[in-house]
């Protein structure tokens, strides 16, 4: 009789990479075509799980960005600005359907280039990206109803810069509302994860989007700078770090450019003693370890009521022991690779700070690969408000646990950070949820859940987490000029 044991070391279940076809070299996507960067400058993009070279990608210079902006301006004036909304919607619907049809290809590529678990790119990033195009397609011919009594016009050429944590989804969050409202775009994806944006460029060609409506310029900080500083850009949108966000705000302020910023966070995840405990544990784990903690709204500070703290932390550790860290292409992987060597360094540095500040560190036993960038899920207990790990964004799989005695104290601690992007509240008492949501200075407050997104629901922050919203009518309004049409 066979005695194979069923345990939690599930046999490898690897997603096939045969669906993706990565080119050796990628150009910039300008005026509907792939073109070389000036001087044929390129940079490499790698798989952070293995450090394997994936492709060389063109690095856009100032001159290249200028070409892209010119193409966008031409497309704006020639095709896009005056195209009826219904017509624009058709393109957006086509893009959304293409994303659905090619979802597996996009998901595998996203995981290869970014290191996130395939289950996340498959079940979260790609469905969200398609949903954003579908949602905004619906608005394209209904803008007059979105802003009743006002005449709605587009800005013109929009410059957009996105981070590496949700490359495809961020592209959709940025492109869909801009296109739906009649703007044309110069888009710069993050330098460590440019490949899905370039695959999206193929989709844009396939759906016959008029040339120049979307231009994709790849590169690092200098490319972004060139886009921000370009005098013919009419609006800027940026998602990324608070430091870069401040620089962009300075530039935009000097030119009075409309700007939306979605920056960092240090979200408090508040668990009251009357919460549904096991579900709260699950929510806290998902809140911080989702996408290796590379999430601006990650619930990186757990505030747990002192009366249940010991039990809750015990349950939390037990749950974290079960997280499967490893090959992002394995369908049973819960936590994938850190996105880059630089990010791994930042996480490791801040974790060292946490230890030296006297917080107690807990990491489950898990064997991490030698190759690639990896960091074990980490819980710090005994964290005090004055610890740097309670104040600074780590942007990695690191949870800082603090306790509170009363709801007032929870609110005070939760709000006592320069950020204000998101927060979570766990209690079975409905009234407490409502007044907590009132008191928390956060753009999003999740109650008895975490990390829920919908294109119809506006997302964005306060304070150093930025301003402006993405999603919903509020998100739409960032991409239009409204005036009263003389009716006032």
């Amino acid at each position: 009789m066979t005695t194979e044991k069923f345990d939690l070391d599930y046999a490898p279940a690897l997603e096939s990479t045969a669906v993706v076809n990565i080119a050796k070299q990628y150009g910039l996507f300008v005026n509907g075509e792939f073109v070389k960067a000036r001087g044929d400058k390129t940079f490499a993009t790698i798989n952070p799980a293995t450090e394997a070279h994936l492709a060389n990608v063109a690095e856009a210079s100032k001159a290249d960005v200028n070409k892209a902006v010119k193409a966008a301006r031409h497309a704006y004036e020639t095709y896009w600005r005056d195209m009826p909304g219904k017509q624009r919607a058709r393109y957006l619907y086509r893009i959304a359907r293409q994303l659905q049809e090619r979802a597996r290809e996009f998901a595998v590529l996203e995981t290869l280039d970014g290191g996130k678990p395939i289950t996340e790119s498959r079940d979260f990033d790609l469905p969200q990206a398609a949903a954003h195009f579908f949602y905004h397609a619906g608005w394209a011919d209904k803008l007059d109803y979105a802003f009743p009594g006002r005449k709605v016009t587009s800005h013109g050429v929009v410059g957009q810069i996105t981070p590496w944590n949700f490359p495809m989804m961020m592209a959709a969050w940025k492109l869909a509302p801009a296109l739906a409202t009649g703007n044309t775009v110069v888009f710069k994806p993050a330098e460590t994860t440019p490949l899905t944006a370039l695959l999206l460029a193929e989709v844009l060609q396939d759906v016959d989007l008029p040339p120049g409506v979307v231009n994709i310029v790849t590169g690092a900080g200098a490319t972004g700078q060139a886009l921000v500083d370009h005098p013919d850009v009419d609006k800027l949108a940026f998602t990324g770090s608070t430091g870069v966000g401040k620089m962009i705000q300075r530039a935009a302020a000097a030119r009075r450019l409309p700007l939306t910023l979605e920056l960092g966070g240090k979200a408090a995840h508040i668990v009251f003693d009357d919460a549904a405990i096991d579900q709260a544990v699950e929510g806290v784990v998902k809140g911080i370890f989702f996408n290796q903690g590379h999430v601006c709204c990650a619930g990186s500070r757990l505030l747990v009521q002192e009366s249940i703290a010991e039990m809750f932390i015990e349950k939390l550790k037990r749950r974290v022991d079960l997280l499967r860290v490893g090959n992002p292409l394995d369908k049973n992987t819960d936590v994938g690779a850190i996105n880059s060597a630089a990010q791994l360094g930042r996480i490791a540095d801040l974790v060292k700070v946490g230890v030296s500040e006297g917080a107690e560190i807990y990491q489950p036993k898990c064997s991490l690969n030698k190759k690639g960038f990896w960091f074990a899920p980490t819980i710090f207990t005994g964290v005090q408000q004055s610890h740097r790990i309670a104040q600074e964004e780590i942007f990695g799989p690191v949870l800082s646990v603090q306790t509170f005695r009363t709801a007032d104290e929870a609110v005070q601690k939760a709000n006592n950070t320069p950020f204000g992007l998101s927060a979570g509240v766990w209690t079975e008492k409905g009234s407490k949820i409502l007044w907590m949501a009132d008191l928390l200075n956060a753009g999003v407050v999740w109650a008895n859940t975490y990390n829920q997104f919908d294109p119809a629901s506006p997302f964005g922050g306060y304070k150093e987490s930025g301003f402006g919203r993405e999603g919903g009518m509020q998100g739409l309004s960032a991409y239009v000029r409204t005036d009263t049409g003389g009716r006032s």
Partner: protein
């Protein structure tokens, strides 16, 4: 009799439906392949209570079931026997005779199954009778009538009395989760049953449409985990009703393994009550061996 204290109720904290169901769903995305799949299929069989609970059951039907239970695949003796056969008390004698010496246990429903609405003394006699006939395990129903009127003392007293009537036999308490009204109540019923002496808590009778679901079993597993933390007592779990496919079966194994730990993945602490599941598991095993799904006539209908 169990001592009634506030303790079981104090552990019966709330359950969040949306988050519970989301967690259960996320566990269904575990991808069980190759060696894991074979191990899961074998374990599903070893944890199975092969069941027939029909008014039309006869000695012949039970004999046929027992043969299948002891040797599920006559062409492949690598396939292990199931954990138990589950029958009505009147059929226990035949089941005991047919499984003698095979290691397959005999479970009997008892205690005015499936409603439980008879005088307590009659229910206890029913249990004692099934035990006397040789049943190793007794599956009783929770008194939902008392539970839903809030008479938790009565619920616990009756479970404790049933436990006493079982003697050496193992007691499984069927919560009939589909009649309790929600996860908070399922957790409360779990806590009460465990404190009153249940060896196993079980989801369903299989006699109503709302039978075992993954979130229900997750909810009960979380209650078992908290009970073990609080008391050190290790209680088993049986999922029953509506489990028909091998894939469903390994979803349950994953939920138990990732909630209670692999210690629970043995027939001593986990059971799958089912009548038609076994053939699907056998067909899946055949696919692993041959690469092809056999037709339904290549497994026996018992």
């Amino acid at each position: 009799m169990a001592c009634i204290t506030d303790k079981p109720l104090s552990l019966a904290t709330s359950v969040d439906q949306v988050a519970l169901e989301a967690r259960a769903k996320s566990l269904t995305t575990r991808s069980i392949k190759t060696t894991s799949k074979r191990a899961a299929l074998h374990l599903s069989i070893r944890c199975m209570d092969l069941t027939t609970l029909e008014g039309a059951d006869t000695p012949g039907k039970v004999a046929s079931l027992c043969q299948k239970a002891t040797r599920p695949d006559p062409t492949n003796l690598d396939v292990p026997p199931v954990a138990a056969v589950c029958v009505y008390p009147e059929m226990v004698d035949y089941a005991v005779a047919a499984t003698a010496g095979t290691g397959v246990k005999v479970a009997s429903v008892a205690g005015a199954f499936p409603s439980g609405l008879s005088r307590l003394s009659i229910r206890l006699d029913d249990i004692a009778d099934a035990v006397a006939r040789g049943a190793h395990e007794i599956d009783i129903v929770l008194n939902r009538s008392a539970f839903l009127t809030g008479d938790y003392n009565l619920v616990m007293d009756e479970v404790a009395a049933a436990k006493e009537a079982c003697g050496e036999a193992h007691l499984k308490v069927i919560l009939e989760t589909g009649e309790l009204g929600g996860y908070d109540q399922i957790r409360r019923a779990s806590m009460l049953s465990m404190h009153a002496g249940a060896d196993f808590i079980k989801t369903s009778t299989g006699k109503i449409p709302k039978a075992s679901t993954l979130p229900v079993v997750l909810c009960m597993a979380e209650a078992i985990r908290d009970h073990a933390d609080a008391t050190g007592e290790i209680i088993g779990l049986k999922a029953a009703g509506g489990i028909r496919t091998a894939k469903q079966a390994w979803h349950y194994l994953v939920v138990i393994g990732e909630t209670l730990g692999t210690d629970w993945l043995t027939p001593d602490l986990f059971r799958l009550g089912a009548s038609s599941l076994l053939n699907d598991v056998l067909q899946q095993l055949g696919k692993l061996d041959t690469g092809r799904y056999s037709g339904p006539d290549y497994v026996t209908v018992d």
